[in-house]
């Protein structure tokens, strides 16, 4: 028989104001096996823990029940206290009489009755607890970063600077992400490339960083500390070790009609291309779908003109398999498609553009060499209208429910830059709210209005229509309560952003959760913002939620610190509350394997001794490092062979019995 001690916490008034703790102590003391029961103001305090340790020693306790807050808060505290007093930490049970009781009830009678019942269930359970031993698993001292935007680059640099190996896997031919497409950056208006390229170069030159561009993660297995990842290096058709980056191939390539992704389709590129001048690596790729040689077998111009002999049409995709202790997701974002917003004439008029397209138009390396002009007739605009919140803050299916966070600031930036460089251009901004929290952000927006004369109108645009070579904007000024009908030359849409669409695929591979908007979910919105709920997976940048560059970089550093904290460990302590199958009951039916979300169950032919009969049977085997203790298998098992240690069927039923008593 166990010797059980029960400790009831007041949690100040959090519990004691609604639950009569004295009565809980009294009721608990009468339960079978209970040899000690007391209450205290703060069980989690040093003094409270000391009470537990002393009672263990004095009364020779073998099992502990603490009636307190959620086990998520203090289970560990009390387990450690028990361990220090010499009993197995898994002999501690928590009855949650705060979140599950005092906080949600008003009536003292009811709440006290429920607290007694919860205590009784925990006592019934601990009676059947058995000591468990936590195992250990190894930590591979290498991290993987998926996505090579500013978030991924910064995380990789910080991990590498701490002395660990990092691999960056980037889908496109170069690292850099969206930031490489931007012209100038708020709030200081420094040139994006000027601050980004040094980081790209540093990452490329770092002896601890390996960059796989034009590559994708194909398969992930394993668990925290020891993930095994297959990376597909897509065939570049150019030998990285030979190419000198001279660019002759791109000049001579006769296939020049593919929309240039980097310039958001505003001009065309050749079939063999590097996305931008400062690309890292500065080695082109052949886009095989556009290449004449791959389509018809004829051409081969690039191979002929390449002095270095780097062109290799035979190159094949390559799979690199590597083990990692931690994985960081930094897959960033894209702007949403505007096909559902016909009212803005985006798909019909080339002079209605998104803000990201405007970044390319304003950029010296962009389709117009940095000259502000209309895409229809290449004339300089005399007036421009910006519309904020396009597709953001929408309750309907056309857009996104959230505020994209960056567009108020970049619209102010665009408006200011245009007024600065082209003072004759009239600039009007339609806004719902101007949201500029952030250091020096509101001052920045006010400068656009007060110093640069940008005309901000509180109101929205209902329609943009083509009228001759002009655009007719129909809107409303809510302050003046007045209809606005104005002709303008260009309309710029501050388009909502969304997570990169293939993040779903990545999240599934990593069993990392995503929210309804496809943003990766953090483990705790306030206290664990860069960790995914899946152990060993970390989040960096806009893939977790809308952010500007300063926030992205800060979060990237935070994710790196968490990774370093993990990689610095010699080994990891595993959770012993995992599933275990009884080989004598298991009939090898595979039901459990099908429901396990973590792939922790496999089958093996094992010799068993069933009451003297020796035979080889196919039985389930749980990989305790992979098992997360979710218990799905125990429910699925038709023969009752599968059980969860620390939460056995017997224990759960004992709790139910105690509750129903």
């Amino acid at each position: 028989m166990q010797r059980i001690g029960v400790f009831v916490c007041h949690c100040g008034t959090n519990i004691a104001a609604t639950v009569d703790v004295a009565r809980v102590v009294e009721a608990a003391a009468k339960e079978p096996g209970v040899v000690h029961a007391e209450d205290y103001q703060y069980m989690c305090s040093e003094a409270g823990q000391l009470k537990i340790r002393e009672a263990i020693k004095e009364k020779n306790l073998t099992g502990i029940v603490v009636c307190s807050c959620s086990p998520r808060m203090h289970e560990n505290t009390f387990r450690q206290a028990a361990e220090r007093a010499g009993i197995n930490p898994y002999m501690v049970e928590i009855a949650n009489i705060r979140e599950h009781c005092s906080w949600i009830h008003k009536d003292i009678e009811e709440a006290t009755e429920k607290a007694v019942i919860l205590a009784r269930a925990a006592i019934a359970k601990v009676t059947l607890n058995a000591p468990l031993q936590a195992g250990t698993s190894r930590v591979v001292k290498r991290a993987l970063v998926i996505g090579g935007g500013i978030a991924g680059i910064q995380t990789a640099l910080d991990i590498a600077d701490a002395g660990y190996e990092v691999d960056i896997v980037e889908k496109t031919p170069s690292i850099g992400g969206r930031m490489s497409q931007l012209d100038k950056t708020f709030p200081t208006l420094d040139c994006s490339a000027c601050i980004l390229t040094p980081k790209m170069v540093e990452a490329a030159a770092h002896d601890k960083i390996t960059i796989y561009t034009y590559s994708e993660v194909e398969k992930v297995s394993g668990f925290v500390g020891d993930f095994q990842v297959d990376i597909r290096k897509k065939a570049r058709s150019v030998d990285m070790s030979k190419c000198t980056g001279c660019g002759v191939c791109q000049e001579k390539c006769p296939s020049k009609k593919t929309p240039n992704e980097f310039n958001r389709g505003l001009n065309n590129r050749s079939a063999i291309y590097t996305p931008f001048a400062q690309a890292i690596p500065n080695v082109p790729v052949i886009d095989r779908e556009s290449c004449i040689k791959f389509k018809t077998g004829k051409c081969g111009v690039c191979a002929k003109v390449c002095q270095a002999g780097a062109i290799d049409y035979e190159q094949k995709d390559e799979i690199v398999t590597q083990n990692y202790g931690a994985i960081v997701v930094a897959t960033g974002f894209d702007t949403i498609k505007l096909d559902k917003f016909d009212e803005y004439s985006y798909s019909t008029s080339p002079d209605v553009i998104t803000s990201l397209e405007l970044e390319r138009i304003m950029n010296a390396a962009g389709p117009t060499k940095g000259h502000l002009e209309r895409m229809s007739d290449h004339k300089a605009p005399k007036s421009m209208v910006f519309i904020q919140c396009v597709g953001s803050r929408c309750a309907d299916k056309r857009g996104k429910s959230y505020c994209s966070k960056i567009c108020c600031m970049y619209t102010a930036k665009h408006a200011m830059l245009i007024r600065d460089k082209y003072p004759d251009v009239e600039v009007t901004v339609f806004y719902i709210d101007v949201r500029t929290p952030g250091k020096n952000f509101d001052e920045f927006y006010r400068r656009a209005v007060e110093e640069y004369g940008v005309n901000y109108i509180k109101g929205q645009v209902g329609k943009v229509a083509e009228k001759g070579d002009k655009l007719l904007v129909q809107g409303v000024d809510l302050i003046d309560n007045k209809r606005i009908l104005m002709e303008t030359d260009m309309v710029v849409l501050a388009t909502a952003i969304e997570p990169n669409p293939d993040v779903r695929k990545i999240a599934t591979m990593l069993t990392a959760s995503i929210d309804t908007n496809n943003f990766l979910t953090e483990s705790h919105a306030k206290l664990r913002p860069v960790e995914s709920p899946t152990a060993g997976i970390f989040l960096s940048g806009v893939c977790q939620g809308p952010k500007d560059i300063p926030e992205t970089v800060a979060q990237a550093g935070a994710a790196a610190v968490k990774v370093v904290g993990l990689l610095a460990k010699d080994h990891l302590v595993t959770n012993p509350c995992v599933a275990k199958s009884d080989e004598l009951l298991c009939n090898g039916c595979s039901s459990c394997e099908k429901v396990c979300p973590y792939g922790a169950i496999s089958y093996e032919e094992r010799e068993v001794n069933d009451h003297g009969i020796r035979e080889t049977r196919r039985v389930a085997n749980v990989n305790s490092a992979l098992c997360q203790g979710c218990g799905a298998c125990t429910v699925a098992c038709p023969s009752g062979a599968m059980d969860l240690q620390g939460f056995s069927n017997r224990q759960i039923l004992a709790e139910v019995d105690a509750i129903c008593k």
């Binding site: 009212e343 919140c389 803050r393 929408c394 309907d396 929205q460 209902g462 409303v476 809510l478």
Partner: protein, 130 residues
Amino acid sequence: MHRTEQEQAELIKEISGVNTKKCMKCGKCSASCPAYEEMDIRPHQFVSYVQNADVKALLESKSIWKCLSCFACVERCPRDVKPAKLIEAVRLMVIRERGGNYLTPGEVPELLDEELPQQLLASAFRKYSK
């Protein structure tokens, strides 16, 4: 039966099925409305007036007879508020209280105006007749 403005506002919300609290005051309904210039109380204001139970002003407003029921505001509202349904509900309230037809076919030729869209006629009978 006499109702307070608060009760009338509740009734309007009930008839229309509109939750005025969803409005974020962006003005896109008014920006989209083809009858905007004709209205004394604008579509976005309609939402706010109902929310604030200023129903008397709405019952007297000429906007309820100017709305074309084109549903542009319903289509474009980012918060799915459906201002036109509120306007329709106020109109119904007026018609019901008057208890008769507000528009008879005989009156149409004299009311006709070059500028008005055809669509108006069809919906007008639906709106102004019992």
